[in-house]
Assembly symmetry: C2
């Protein structure tokens, strides 16, 4: 298809597609004549992934480039490709916590990972975020929530099982990798918005004046 | 306590505390002499809440002011105070979706809310985010995840029950409101980081080369 059709198929304006082409986010189309390029299904999928990363997850363009380069590198394992995207999707958090709270939180998280036999890299950014969050709960006097860490982890494992089951139906490895990345992004927004609605409803039941 | 002690108790630097005082985020201390103010437990709690909103949830200062003004307004119900914070905590998402996908997502979400008898305002930002997310899943060809919407909602209701149980132990209404807001922020980070870790572990099991 031509660039105009690609734009229609993906709902991405032509100038934006041209910007992605210039920035190297989207591979060039196949030249069908000296100044006409043809695009295919792979371009449609790639454009959707770019939009999910930039618009939904607000990943900076430079990092999107890195994720895409990793996806296009056939010598990199699927696990490494997903890991690279994960790293870009974990926003850095600035938290002030006491050293004692951090030490206790670290021990707590290590025990959780050990008990659940989770296989995670020691430098995973999500690990640092989890420790920071538990330490912040302690520092902010919100320890009650942390007492339910196992219940949260149970629910989260359910999410992961649902998500794995839903991505493994993808026919190719490329599509699988893209699905995992998009699913990570959209799943987070899905859970966060459902949680706020459920909280609002509970608050209405308990605390809304009649 | 004096400003230096307040700083020590909360781990917030004195210049930052002075900035919050100037901006009206933190109420002035009680003047114990013409140029010395005394701060109490309410200041410690308020500072922690400000830090959670600004540092963890990255809420802009202007919105933090609005949330705090609502908390200090005794004529506003607890439900309305929580609602105001919720609105500040739902980031706007720019998503391109087709009108058809949006219509289908809207119907889906309305059915969910009806089935679960959730009491939510029609203009709740989380409602728009949830609809956008489902429409984006459809547009991005990730409908498998949306099929599990009920399983996600079940898990999220479990979170809310745990969270309500953990905040209702607060002795005063002010502390309860603050706990709900901090719990909303920290809970989201907790769930998101646990989810990434669980995904990483599953990815290692399934897709890591040995």
């Amino acid at each position: 298809m031509r660039i105009g059709e690609l734009s229609k198929a993906t709902d991405v304006p032509v100038p934006t597609i041209k910007y992605y082409l210039r920035e190297g986010l989207l591979p060039a189309g196949e030249l069908s004549s000296p100044n006409q390029a043809a695009y295919g299904a792979a371009h449609v999928r790639r454009l959707r992934l770019i939009r999910a990363l930039i618009d939904l997850a607000q990943v900076p363009v430079a990092q999107v480039k890195e994720i895409l380069r990793s996806l296009d590198n056939d010598t990199e394992s699927l696990h490494d490709q997903i890991g690279r995207a994960h790293r870009a999707l974990t926003p850095p958090r600035r938290v002030t916590t006491t050293p004692e709270a951090r030490a206790a939180a670290t021990a707590r998280v290590q025990a959780l990972i050990h008990d659940r036999q989770w296989s995670v890299e020691p430098d995973a950014p999500a690990l640092a975020t989890l420790i920071d969050t538990l330490a912040a709960m302690e520092t902010l006097g919100q320890t009650n929530l942390a007492d339910h860490l196992d219940a949260y982890a149970d629910a989260v494992e359910t999410f992961t099982q649902l998500e794995v089951a839903s991505v493994t139906t993808n026919p190719t490895r490329d599509q699988l990798a893209e699905s995992v990345i998009i699913g990570t992004i959209l799943g987070e927004t899905l859970i966060a918005s459902l949680r706020l609605l459920s909280q609002e409803s509970t608050s209405a039941t308990l605390w809304k004046p009649r």
